[in-house]
Point group: C2
Chain length 258, copies 2
DNA sequence: CATAACTATGTACGGTGTAAAGTGTTATTT
DNA sequence: AAATAACACTTTACACCGTACATAGTTATG
């Protein structure tokens, strides 16, 4: 139930683990396991069974150690979550990121990274449910940020404007992907499609007086008939287009390439 | 840890509870407690101690019944969460919602509802952590949706365009408020400010080679020096302005009021 | 007055994160 | 070569969670 936040496994330790900066201990028995093994197992669990399936016990079991041995490698579940987030931010193997930007078409570049980011969330929907303590400053996350920023490079934007633009697009994508991700998870976990759900509650809704919601009762039925619970792909593209139009205003004001 | 989704307390029961449609039972002892009492207690817990503090046991304790008596009133924890979400969507007492829109200034209207929505999340940050099974179709949520929609009324937008616009703005707000909400919770729960955290990790960051992230290492320091971890209020307003610019393109094309 | 319908409770189970203490292995120090 | 410190790993234990199940007490109806 609901992500936790605590942790208190000091941030330095987290960073050291994330950047592989834990020097191999001199004495004591060598461990057969690397931290990366635990993280990989945890990510697999999350991908396959959802974030709730990720418990320190199950991760330990997955890599073949006893429950408490988990804590030999990772101080905290909260730290594990941070490590998972950075691990998963690595570009998919052999993949699309190699694509170079087209210098003369910034709209295409921004749209591309936005769609990539959305696809990332859809690959690992549990990421949306993990509340991190602080920004994850791992190598893969940094790389993703860098790539995102690069889409706004060469437009004569100030550093701050570039950062704000990335933040805005990232925020939009995050918000927009949430519904789709939820819908997918619900369908998988409950075996009830949106249509079935809608039909199940329709009889009840007919008994409700919607007159206190005049605008909604004008809009809702039209939208509902055309799209059911909404077409999230279309909604995403609509919002993205609108965002790009807004960015264009700034870009043109700054005299960047069009 | 991480919101759950399941529940299977059938949707009809949830709706009945939300709309107060459970007819008072004829026989049996009268309950001194209303469902609303449980929900209110749960919301208080969430507001004061975070969503993790909301357990069926603690809610029961808060209203003075034994742990299992909770289930006499509410079938499921998942249903409780839905009820909490709708309860909290009610406009704050005596408040701002009374404000009428200015018919000739749609930008102001949209900005207003966006800021209101953001303020709502900041009042109840735990809402961001609750994954609902399906859209919450309660009276208060409906009212909020209606109000949001009304900001786009009279602009000659089609029903679908109105819905997509609301969705887009809501998605942006949702994404944008996430960081602030997190920052606040972390500060409260850990007693460590962002500045302290930053200073704690700075020595480590100096040992990291950032050359693989050329754009980020050009942008990051400038942004960092000026704003530390970022000024979320400014980021929000920047993105909102940009969104409004984008919406303006559509609104003007449709020949609505400017 | 018996019974059905209802509120409320107690007990129990399998799950969680992790504190604390103990066991055995290894590299260094004496 | 023996002692020791550092380490991986395990066992046990605790307090919490959601909730299934069985039970006890209360009330309106037949």
């Amino acid at each position: 139930m609901a992500d936790d936040i605590a942790g208190r496994g000091d941030p330095i330790k987290t960073l050291q683990l994330m950047w592989g900066r834990i020097e191999a201990p001199k004495r004591g028995p060598k461990s057969k396991l690397a931290v990366a093994d635990l993280v990989r197992a945890a990510v697999r669990l999350a991908d396959e069974e959802g974030i709730d399936a990720v418990s320190t016990r199950r991760v330990a079991e997955a890599v073949g150690i006893s429950p408490m041995s988990f804590y030999t490698h990772i101080p905290d579940k909260a730290v594990l979550l941070d490590l998972m987030l950075d691990a998963v931010a690595r570009p998919a193997d052999g993949s699309e990121e190699a694509q170079a930007f087209r210098p003369e078409d910034w709209r295409a570049n921004v749209a591309f990274v936005a769609r990539e980011y959305r696809a990332f969330y859809l690959r690992h929907p549990w990421v949306l449910q993990v509340a991190t303590h602080r920004p994850v400053l791992g190598p893969n996350t940094m790389r993703a940020y860098d790539y995102f920023l690069a889409a706004f490079d060469g437009l004569n934007l100030s550093e701050v404007e570039m950062d704000l633009s990335v933040t805005m697009v990232a925020n939009y994508v995050h918000g927009a992907v949430r519904d789709v991700a939820r819908a997918r998870m619900v369908k998988e976990l409950t075996g009830m499609s949106d249509d079935e759900w809608w039909h199940a509650i329709a009889p009840f809704l007919e008994t409700v007086d919607f007159s206190p919601y005049p605008v909604a009762s004008r809009i809702g039925p039209v939208v509902g008939e055309l799209y059911g619970l909404g077409d999230p792909d279309r909604a995403f593209e609509f919002g993205l287009e609108c965002l790009l139009d807004g960015l264009a205003v700034m870009v043109e004001r700054k005299g960047g390439r069009r």
